[in-house]
């Protein structure tokens, strides 16, 4: 009897989870399906679920109209560069907060997190002006720096959480063994924190890849990443749903694949430290 109940419960959960997952995934699926429709089929009412006439025309047109690979390259540089830069700054910061905390460490962590709660638009004008004066507008370097800055609090927080899990004894043993600070970090701390660092990197790449506010406001043509590439398809001439969908599909495909292949690492990373 109890067994029957638990089987029933399991099935209910499975079905529920599938429904929720499909609901979340539906917009992405719809975008992908629409990208294979003709512009006419894309605005049919009632809508057709599967494309009545499958076509790749949208993709070729998108590539010829606005250079996909240039935007893709920009996205890779910005997401990758800001992630590397953030790690270089965050590793020592998280190290010092995790292993030699002071009375104010907790407050500093909270303060860093609080900067994420401020609406970005609040600092748009000052940052725009700073970028303008420093000639950073529409440059890959400028975008890399700004995306590194906005994600830095999260990177530090995540690394801090991972580092806290590493027994202090091991680092002390390392000091007794004659290691100076940088050797301690390179030979012992980083190898032990590899899973945590990997998931932090992944999350940061995804966040930077998807970031639209700053990338749209601080770029024109030169440094525009894929977010700007998508946005260029909502034009004054009206929306071309199929082409917009094709552009979106091409923009999200790399990060979707990356997320798909590293989902195990990502889930482990995000729940790490929650259960000890």
């Amino acid at each position: 009897m109890a067994r029957a109940v638990s089987v029933q419960k399991k099935w209910t959960y499975t079905v529920l989870v599938w429904i929720v997952a499909l609901l979340i995934f539906f917009p992405i699926l719809w975008t992908i399906l629409t990208s294979f429709k003709t512009e006419g089929d894309a605005i049919l009412f009632p809508p057709a679920f599967f494309p009545p006439h499958w076509t790749l025309e949208n993709f070729t047109e998108v590539q010829s109209r606005s250079d996909y690979f240039k935007h893709f390259f920009n996205s890779v540089v910005i997401a990758g560069g800001s992630t590397l830069l953030a790690l270089i700054i965050a590793v020592p910061a998280a190290w010092s907060m995790a292993f030699s905390p002071t009375r104010r460490t907790k407050d500093i962590l909270m303060w860093m997190l609080s900067t994420k709660m401020m609406p970005a638009v609040g600092v748009l004008v000052p940052i725009y002006l700073i970028f303008k004066n420093l000639n950073l507008l529409d440059t890959l370097g400028g975008l890399t720096i700004i995306l590194m800055l906005i994600n830095l609090p999260i990177v530090i927080w995540m690394l801090y959480t991972y580092f806290k899990e590493i027994p202090v004894d091991i680092l002390e043993a390392c000091r007794m063994d004659g290691a100076v600070l940088w050797k301690e970090i390179v030979y012992v701390l980083l190898p032990m924190a590899v899973p945590g660092i990997a998931s932090t990197m992944l999350l940061n790449i995804i966040l930077a890849w998807n970031e639209a506010f700053w990338t749209l406001n601080l770029t024109a043509a030169g440094a525009a990443p894929l977010t700007a590439f998508i946005a260029s398809y909502s034009s004054p001439e009206g929306l071309f749903w199929a082409k917009l969908s094709a552009a979106s599909t091409m923009a999200i495909a790399p990060i979707l694949l990356l997320g798909w292949f590293s989902q195990r690492q990502l889930v482990r990373g995000l729940t790490f430290g929650a259960v000890k």
Binding site: I170, A173, R175, M176, D177, V180
Partner: protein, 333 residues
């Protein structure tokens, strides 16, 4: 060489004074054990010597050089931790080689030293394993191996055996003692286990609330405890401390008598009592005896002694083995 001298060492954590003022001399080649109840500051004192904590004031001299301001890496000491603190991502070989690698020793020398340490510690077959694949005793051997390869001025041990089971602890105790005889290097060993202290030490330092209560050889402490704290702490079962002394044993605020210094008899003696609990260990028998006007007394009889709970018994203390203490707890000699 590896003499360690502490001069006026003081350590304060925030508002708490953990070590008020310690002076101590550890001779080259000595095996010194810091012992005391938990929270007495023994581990802190070891960490101050190691350099893992900074002294608030005072000097720590190793071979005559004050190293109080030097980082751990520059003090030339090795440490074995309670948790072993092995590097989980490295093989046993790399773990043992790590201090040599940090010192910039050449590959060939590293290999030969690691092989030598491994054979000393019976680890030769395990060199390519990870620490996670070893038993507790093997892990502790790797930790010791990592400590000995760089031939330090002194070894520091922070309760290295407390994570091991009783049988293994006995065995490792002997191995560490043998290691000390072979290497003849200074060893400073922290423990709360007085059996380890008594069996391994050349010199025991008894600590209480950050202060040194007494320094001496194991038998000096056992036979001539300087105060009530040492008298009660060293020896198992602990010394019977009687305050005030029973009639006829005046001249002191407290007298102490060890369980084995009490003669038991079923016929006659100084104090009559009744057995509350009898513990028969085979080699010895411990009796917990209630005595009117005196209180509870523990007595030890060698071998089998046929008494059980509820039996009447007479006790006579060996007058030459009675310890006398004044009102402040200091021994009267």
């Amino acid at each position: 060489m590896g003499s360690i001298i502490l001069r006026n060492v003081r350590k304060v954590f925030g508002e708490v004074e953990v070590i008020p003022n310690v002076d101590l001399t550890i001779e080259d080649g000595e095996f010194v054990v810091f012992v005391g109840p938990s929270g007495c500051g023994k581990s802190t004192l070891l960490r101050l010597i190691a350099g893992l904590e900074d002294v608030t004031s005072g000097a720590i001299e190793i071979d005559g050089v004050d190293v109080a301001k030097e980082p751990p890496a520059r003090r030339g000491l090795s440490m074995v931790f309670q948790s072993y603190a092995l590097y989980p991502h490295m093989s046993v070989r790399s773990n043992i080689a790590f201090p040599l690698k940090m010192a910039g020793v050449s590959r060939d020398v590293i290999d030969s030293k690691v092989e030598k340490a491994a054979s000393t510690l019976n680890l030769t077959g395990y060199l390519d394993r990870r620490p996670g694949q070893l038993s507790g005793g093997q892990r502790q051997r790797v930790a010791i191996g990592r400590a000995i390869v760089r031939e330090p001025k002194a070894f520091l041990f922070d309760e290295p055996l407390s994570n091991l089971d009783a049988a293994l602890r006995g065995q490792m105790r002997i191995e560490i003692t043998q290691l000390h005889q072979t290497l003849a290097t200074t060893m400073v060993y922290v423990t709360h286990d007085q059996i380890e202290a008594m069996t391994m030490a050349d010199k025991i330092v008894v600590l209480n609330a950050g202060n040194i209560e007494q320094v001496g050889t194991p038998l000096e402490l056992y036979n001539n405890p300087a105060n009530l704290f040492v008298a009660g702490f060293i020896g198992s079962p602990r010394m019977n401390l009687l305050t005030p002394p029973p009639p006829g044993r005046d001249g002191a605020a407290t007298i102490g008598i060890r369980p084995e210094d009490i003669q038991l008899s079923t016929e006659a003696g100084e104090w009559p009592g009744k057995v509350r609990i009898a513990e028969h260990l085979g080699s010895d028998t411990f009796f917990h005896i209630d005595v009117d006007d005196v209180g509870a007394i523990t007595a030890r009889a060698p071998g089998e002694f046929a008494l059980s709970a509820g039996d009447a018994v007479w006790m006579t203390p060996n007058p030459e083995r009675i310890h006398r203490f004044d009102g402040e707890g200091k021994a009267l000699r």
